[in-house]
């Protein structure tokens, strides 16, 4: 059976490591993506999200570990494999003179030979235009589109081959709230109706929570957490922060059982004041992670510059 049969993950990553020279970007990453699942790689800039997704797309060779996408190693795949995946790229100014419909027809025609009864390829262009809300702009030039419209065109190009796995790197950068909402609907539709497995990267926690069945938080090239948004809020964010003042001094303590700690605290020190008890949210944890990452980044950058 092929890798997309029920139960077998469509993406299987084991011990994935990546280093650029002495600089380690990814360390021992393990995860899987099930068929039809939406997985978000969440992390601050520089956490290794883009590197991970580019390795899975076959655009980059890893330094170590094993990677399997649709049963094959992406770095040594054939065009048949490429016909089954979709990559949404950040467009900039390529194909500016093309008309929207022509461009989708052009790229769609490469997928026609990979069509089968389960997945007729490519998508009919009119349906695709409707899905991404570009029907009215079908005969506009690409260069005349707004940032959000261009991004939707990028998504349309990414899914024109009705992919089994779709890769999206920072898909909603530059979206206004309406475009973001429409994009979220589109992602749900792809995964629910088409059974498309989706791997996306984002640095926006709320987007990951809305879109993904499962979130992997990457920090400094390592997996800091892996689970559904609910699981993460319980596990990662399970700590409670207690702050209080005593003898003019501020104290902070993190605990898993805030109630018990406070009971004990009050029993031992009846004269404390300014007591604050706060359950850390997933957002707090994530923001703390990003802040510590940025603090760590600040020093090495200077060293690198000095070394040049």
């Amino acid at each position: 059976m092929t890798a997309d049969s029920e139960g077998t993950p469509v993406i299987d990553v084991r011990g994935l490591s990546m280093a650029y020279g002495p600089k380690r970007v990814l360390t021992e990453i393990d995860f899987t993506l099930a068929k039809g699942e939406v997985l978000a790689l969440l992390g601050p800039n520089g956490a290794g999200k883009t590197t991970t997704i580019e390795i899975l797309e076959g655009f980059r060779a890893p330094s170590g570990g094993s990677v399997s996408v649709l049963g094959a190693d992406p770095i040594s795949v054939n065009e048949q494999w490429r016909g089954r995946i979709g990559v949404v790229l950040q467009s900039w100014r390529d194909h500016g003179r093309w008309r929207v419909r022509e461009l989708l027809q052009q790229f769609g025609s490469y997928y026609a030979p990979f069509s089968d009864e389960h997945r007729p390829r490519p998508y009919p262009v009119d349906e695709l235009l409707r899905m991404v809300g570009l029907t009215e702009l079908a005969s506009s030039k690409v260069m005349s589109l707004s940032g959000g419209q261009r991004r939707r065109l990028d998504v349309a190009i990414g899914i024109v081959g009705r992919p089994e796995i779709l890769f999206l790197d920072e898909p909603t950068v530059g979206f206004d709230p309406v475009a973001r909402r429409e994009f979220h609907d589109l992602v749900h539709r792809l995964s629910d109706l088409e059974g498309t497995s989706i791997l996306l990267t984002t640095h926006d926690l709320s987007e990951a929570e809305k879109l993904a069945d499962r979130i992997i938080i990457l920090n400094n090239g390592r997996i800091a957490a892996n689970g559904s948004a609910d699981q993460l809020s319980r596990e990662v964010a399970g700590t409670t922060e207690v702050r209080w003042m005593i003898d003019g001094q501020r104290h902070v303590h993190a605990t898993t059982d805030g109630t018990a700690f406070v009971r004990e605290l009050l029993a031992q020190h009846p004269d404390i004041h300014d007591l604050e008890v706060r359950r850390a949210t997933l957002e707090d944890t994530y923001l703390a992670m990003v802040a510590s990452h940025q603090a760590e980044q600040a020093t090495p950058v200077l060293e690198e510059e000095g070394a040049k």
């Binding site: 065009e79 490429r82 016909g83 003179r97 093309w98 052009q106 025609s109 030979p113």
Partner: protein, 284 residues
Amino acid sequence: MSARQAAVSAGIRRGAIEFRNSLKTPTDLGYYIVGNAIFVVVMVLNRGSMVDELGITSSRFIFPGVLAMILIFVATYGLATLVATEREDGTLLRCKSIPNGMTGYVSGQVTRTALEMAFSAGMLLIAASIIVPDLWANGALAILGVLGMLVFGLLATLPLGLAIGSFFKNPRSLGGWGFIVMGLLIVGSGLFAPLITMPEWVQVLAQLLPLYWLGLGMRSVLLPDAAVAIEIGESWRMLEMLGVLGVWAVVGLVLAPVLLRRMARRESGSAMEARRQTVLNRVA
């Protein structure tokens, strides 16, 4: 239809659309028209003057050189610049991300270049038929000869353009020096003054490069037999011409896929983004 064939025919459509788009773009159209108009003006100005040794007008002597020159301008320099530009703007990365996309990209570029060449050469041939006296004095076979040389010339220059274009990271690193090299090549390849009047080292160099032989081949088709008197060895050297241009065609056909693959392998979203940042910083 196999996936590869599908990609080739998609590429041909791609090339046709690209060419149509450039005809609809005022700057591109202006470039074609002004570029060709310069040659037309040069031929008009030289209509009356004679090359005394040969007994033909200067315009008739120059015209084969004009055809050779636009070959190298369109199919080597122009194509190379376009490939470098499209590497930078992400066109290539997008093609790489779809199945057989690079095959489609290359067949698109071949189609577009051939169409552009046909368009430019067609305009010039029509203009020259009116302006240049006795252009077709060699008879109807000369028309076939010119077409043959254009096709053979494309074979020698187009793969080279693909190879050079995929060697450079961006159009600016190619553009400046490329233009100077093109200028020197044109002056030193005996297109507008016989090569025998030039220093010996220029002659040696010119005969290693394709442009001189393109010019020689075009002259052999369009000029009267007597004009062979001012060529090296007083011969059209047909075999050597086919041989040297054939070697350049092979060099291009061998190098182009290797360099294109190398270029494609190095393309990724983050490489693109890094270049984009560089460009944005320079603009700012």
